[in-house]
């Protein structure tokens, strides 16, 4: 581990000014990616600005047709929230399947989506539910937020303060986990939303993506058989020692089918 300055921010403004004022400042949410990376000397930030003491970033609330989750809400909190479980059970289950208990009790939704690991679970929910990401500066549509592998629409000094999830009529997330890391080799989030069906895939490609052909098929018939024969191309999918692109493409179909079946209960 290299030396770095640790700062505990008292407010969003304080955090942003600390990060932008530092030579190479980084926000510290749960630290589930940045801390191991620093420990392995693969990252060398000058400053880590801890958001744990910042008011207004935590909390989960449901009002009307929206689930609001604070950027610093831990996965375990989302998983255990009876309000989330009642409004979007698929989201509570997704949070309960991230990493392991240690990760779930440290990791945050804001940290997860800002990091945008291609195999993370939350991006599938944000895109699959058509959520809105709130930052200290603006609101960003979930569809526009994830721009590439480990890349997002966030600008320097921009901080995820929360995510608003519209409540779907039904939804489910089906993950095929990497047996070692338990990240998603393929994770598919399907939802019947007011704007129509959504199918969001994580793990399979460099960044979460939607499958238009499946969404169209589900618009006509929200049933497993509607997607069972839809194959996606494997040209742009990830291929590594855990799964070939061909296998990932196959799993997208299987997980989509199973997710629809689970959404239909």
């Amino acid at each position: 581990m290299y030396d770095f300055n640790y700062r505990k921010a008292s407010s969003v403004e304080d955090a942003v000014s600390a990060v932008t004022g530092a030579e190479d400042g980084r926000f510290l949410a749960g630290g589930m990616t940045i801390i191991p990376t620093i420990k392995q000397r693969l990252a060398n930030p000058s400053d880590l600005v801890d958001l744990a003491g910042v008011g207004g970033l935590t909390g989960i609330s449901v009002s009307g047709n929206t689930v609001e989750i604070g950027g610093m809400a831990r996965h375990a909190e989302v998983n255990a929230s009876s309000e989330v479980a009642a409004a979007i059970p698929a989201l509570a289950r997704l949070a309960g399947g991230i990493g392991d208990p240690q990760v779930r009790n440290r990791g945050t939704i804001g940290g997860s989506i800002a990091n945008n690991d291609p195999a993370a679970d939350y991006p599938a929910a944000v895109v699959g539910l058509g959520a809105t990401v709130r930052t200290n500066r603006r609101e960003i549509a979930g569809d526009d937020f994830f721009t590439g592998m480990f890349e997002t629409a966030l600008e320097p000094g921009e901080l995820v303060t929360g995510v608003s999830f519209p409540v779907p009529s039904k939804a489910a997330y089906m993950k095929f986990p990497n047996p070692a890391s338990r990240y998603a080799i393929v994770g598919v989030f399907v939802a019947a939303t007011s704007g129509g069906p959504r199918v969001a895939v994580t793990g399979a490609g460099p960044c979460v993506f939607r499958v238009a052909e499946m969404e169209q098929a589900l618009a006509g018939n929200f049933a497993p058989e509607a997607v069972a024969d839809i194959k996606i191309g494997d040209d742009d999918l990830n291929s590594d020692i855990h799964a070939s692109a061909e296998y990932r493409a196959h799993l997208v179909t299987v997980m989509a089918k199973r997710a629809v079946a689970q959404a239909n209960g």
Binding site: Y2, R41, P179, A180, H242, Y247, L251
Partner: protein
């Protein structure tokens, strides 16, 4: 008789300190004035090593010195030694290239040390290591087991043409001819090409070492994560450091797991000893998990072709095996032994196959060196045998249970001489299999398969009937076969004046429960309460020369040494008792801690005898020395042969290829059992390890020797939710070769589980035309196998 003797499932004495954070591990050894070592390691699998410029690093804050390969040469350090020599079929000795403690001229695997930075803090050492300028010229690598010895492969060591370490035939020409004849006459044959993949050991505690040189005494002390402290001292002192044994103490304190990987002397230990001697300050090193991945000796890594000949009745008539075994870049201490005498000698398994022969080509590659890992050769042997038997069952149409039963060595055929050198002392194989079939509800499988099918799943059942050879012995024969060390074990049993007992043993406890099991032996034989017995291991200044813990030898060899020492205690105690009781020594009997004059009620407790021995006011000093403190060495006349029958049931999701182990029944025979709870724990651990190899684990290197499974994010270990709840039972066939009737138990699960699991998976996939699948059986490999079968 106090409670807690042989046969009692007493809770482990050592667990209080482990579970409450009071264990004392190597890294807990903190010394005044200590320095920290950081190892700069090669990022290349194969590269010419030019200059290693340490000037900037030496000038960095806190740095005391930076050591390189030429420094080691200048100070006369030897290479890391190999403890077993193999002779090739043409009579030449194996190629044994020097393994320098710090690379010289070339680096041959990712992780090889190119410089060591010694600094006041670990962070300063790590920071300075980034300032060492190393001139690498990358070379083509030979990193693939199967092709490393072929023409055109990159050459790793000048003295090893075609990267061949040895080319070994066993048992010899005559046997090969007998096997050829068996195949010519065969009614059926079965053949498989299979891979026993490389796996990486994972101890809870990473390797660590603390060295302290006392210039006044000219004495070096090394605390390290070792399974065999005396062997570590012998090998490091005599071959690497030129440090006399009487001026070298090695202590292996509490050690968090070994699995074989903590037997060999490692470069880091030699380097910090050397540095401490040079700097006259304590030097410490703690391996990081990422270092463990590339430097703890790996295991397995065989590519094998196996053929089995059968007669018309399904009797095995001949077995032929050809294996390429990957040694890694250098020869670790026992690497050559593993694919030879711990491998080919097990090819008879539990069966009467009369003709067996094999060829093993051991090759160097640009990968981490391999050595013993739970089972060490025996898992590889058992896997190929139990897999080819299932393939033979398929080829002949004989049921897998029936074909095994037709070929088992009968219970009344012992001692049984196999055609591959071993003389099995005892066994009752069919009984164990019958119990396993009964407990696993083998006959109810069809209904469970139907239920799975109704759920869209494929279900398979598989058997394996493993045998293993534990407690390697005797030393004289091992020496003839190439061993460079003895295979006895030692013990000292010391009564203290107040009647408590301290046992000093040459073995080492790093999870096996010796502190409890060995104490139970004392309680059982001498009648001393369990809490009054202390077991001391792993310190060359305290215990007599022993060979350590590996190869499931501790109870059968080390426990027998304790038993022998206790015999001497009783013998001497009788003499003391005869004096105190004023009776002839021939009339003194001993039982449950009490000496009695035969046929009378005159008794004296062993505690009183011990007191008299140390406070000899009323004592036969003219005839007998004071004290009650005896030591013994035990060198068994033979290995011992644990065996088992395992039944595994798996469910396969044909859409994703996922495999789940649904049921696992294990019936083990490890001879007499001292602590059933500890034995069960050992079996659980072994089975989990074996299931891990079958379904999850596998070290992957790319063609340049880059490790692709460098962390637990990419290397899958079995976890609580990926192994089933095991259904265990055992039979007891006492080993006639040691006074305890005990056999080893630490490895059998890891030996027998892989073929049981893979046989079950193949059984599940057989109806889809799949007859073999290599380990690790990942979900993708199952899916791909089903796709290929569908396509053809």
């Amino acid at each position: 008789m106090p409670e807690g003797g042989i046969g009692a499932s007493v809770k482990r004495k050592e667990d209080f300190r482990f579970l409450t954070g009071r264990g004392a591990y190597t890294d807990d050894e903190v010394r005044a004035g200590q320095l920290h070592a950081h190892m700069l390691r090669s990022p290349h699998g194969h590269a010419a090593l030019g200059s290693v410029d340490t000037s900037k690093a030496e000038a960095a804050p806190g740095v005391v010195c930076v050591l390189t390969g030429p420094d080691a040469d200048a100070d006369g350090l030897g290479g890391l030694p190999c403890g077993w020599g193999i002779t090739s079929k043409d009579g030449t000795p194996m190629v044994e290239p020097k393994w320098p403690v710090i690379a010289q001229g070339k680096v041959r695997y990712v992780g090889e040390i190119v410089a060591t930075v010694i600094a006041e803090t670990a962070e300063q050492a790590a920071d300075a290591a980034e300032l060492v300028e190393v001139d690498y010229r990358p070379l083509d690598a030979a990193a693939v087991t199967e092709t490393a010895h072929r023409d055109g492969a990159a050459q790793i060591h000048e003295e090893a043409p075609n990267n061949l370490c040895f080319d070994w035939d066993f048992p010899g020409e005559e046997a090969a001819e007998a096997v050829d004849a068996a195949f010519e006459a065969a009614a059926h044959t079965a053949r498989l090409e299979l891979v026993n993949q490389r796996i990486i050991p994972h101890s809870m505690e990473p390797r660590a070492a603390v060295a302290e040189y006392d210039k006044g005494e000219e004495k070096l002390t090394l605390y390290c994560t070792a399974q065999a402290a005396h062997a570590m001292r012998l090998l490091l002192g005599a071959f690497v450091l030129n440090q006399p044994e009487h001026k070298f103490r090695v202590v292996a304190p509490d050690v968090g797991g070994g699995f074989g990987s903590k037997v060999a002397p490692y470069a880091e230990y030699a380097i910090i000893c050397w540095a401490s001697r040079k700097l006259e300050r304590p030097v410490r090193w703690l391996g990081q998990r990422t270092e463990c991945f590339v430097t703890d000796a790996h295991g397995r890594d065989h590519v094998t072709e196996v053929e089995l000949a059968l007669d018309a009745e399904g009797k095995f008539t001949g077995l032929r095996v050809n294996t390429v075994a990957n040694m890694g870049a250098y020869l670790s201490a026992f690497a050559p032994l593993i694919p030879t005498f711990l491998y080919a000698t097990l090819f008879a398994g539990q069966y009467t196959t009369p003709a067996i022969s094999c060829n093993v080509k051991a090759v160097f590659t640009n990968t981490s060196p391999v050595d013993a890992l739970r089972g060490a050769g025996r898992p590889e042997a058992t896997y190929l045998l139990e897999r080819v038997i299932d393939e033979a069952a398929r080829a002949t149409g004989i049921d897998p249970v029936e074909i095994r039963k037709r070929n088992f060595i009968a219970a009344d055929a012992f001692p049984y001489q196999t055609p591959v050198a071993l003389l099995y002392d005892s066994g009752s194989y069919e009984r164990a299999l019958d119990i396993a079939l009964e407990k696993s509800d083998w006959n109810g499988f069809a209904a469970r398969r139907s239920a799975s099918e109704a759920d869209g799943k494929l279900r398979g059942i598989g058997i394996a009937a493993p045998i293993e050879a534990t407690g390697a012995a005797p030393s004289a024969i091992a020496g003839q076969l190439g061993a460079r060390a003895g295979l006895y074990e030692s013990a000292q049993v010391r009564f203290n004046a107040t009647g408590t007992v301290t046992v000093f043993a040459g073995t080492h406890n790093h999870g096996q429960g010796h502190e409890t099991t060995f104490a139970q032996l004392v309680t059982d034989k001498l009648g001393v309460p369990l809490e009054n017995v202390e077991v001391v291991e792993g310190d060359t200044d305290r215990a007599v020369m022993g060979m350590g813990t590996y190869g499931s030898r501790s109870l059968s060899v080390g426990g027998s040494a304790i038993d022998r020492a206790m015999d001497k205690i009783i013998d001497k105690g009788k003499k003391i008792a005869s004096h105190l009781l004023e009776a002839s020594v021939d009339d003194i009997e001993f039982d449950s801690g009490t000496f009695t004059v035969s046929g009378t009620d005159r008794t004296i407790s062993i505690g009183e005898v011990a007191f008299a021995a140390y406070v000899p006011h009323n004592y036969p000093l003219e005839e007998l020395e004071p004290g009650l403190d005896e030591q013994a060495f035990f060198d068994p006349v033979n290995f011992n042969f644990p065996f088992a029958s395992y039944v595994c049931e798996v469910e396969v999701d044909p859409e994703t290829g996922s495999v789940s182990v649904e049921r696992f029944t294990a019936v083990d025979d490890v001879g007499n059992i001292v602590n059933p709870m500890i034995v069960e724990g050992q079996v659980h651990g072994g089975l989990a390890h074996g299931i891990g190899q079958a379904l999850m684990e596998g070290a992957v290197f790319d063609e340049n020797g880059q490790p692709l499974t460098g962390s637990l994010m990419d290397y899958t270990l079995p976890r609580a939710d990926t192994v089933p709840s095991f259904d265990l039972d055992h039979t007891v066939t006492p080993c006639p070769m040691n006074p305890l009737g005990a056999k080893g138990v630490g490895e059998i699960g890891a030996i027998g589980a892989p073929p049981a699991v893979v046989n079950a998976v193949v059984d599940a996939l057989r109806s889809h035309g799949v007859n073999h699948i290599d380990m690790p059986v990942t979900s993708e490999s199952v899916w791909q196998a089903l796709q290929s079968a569908k396509a053809s």
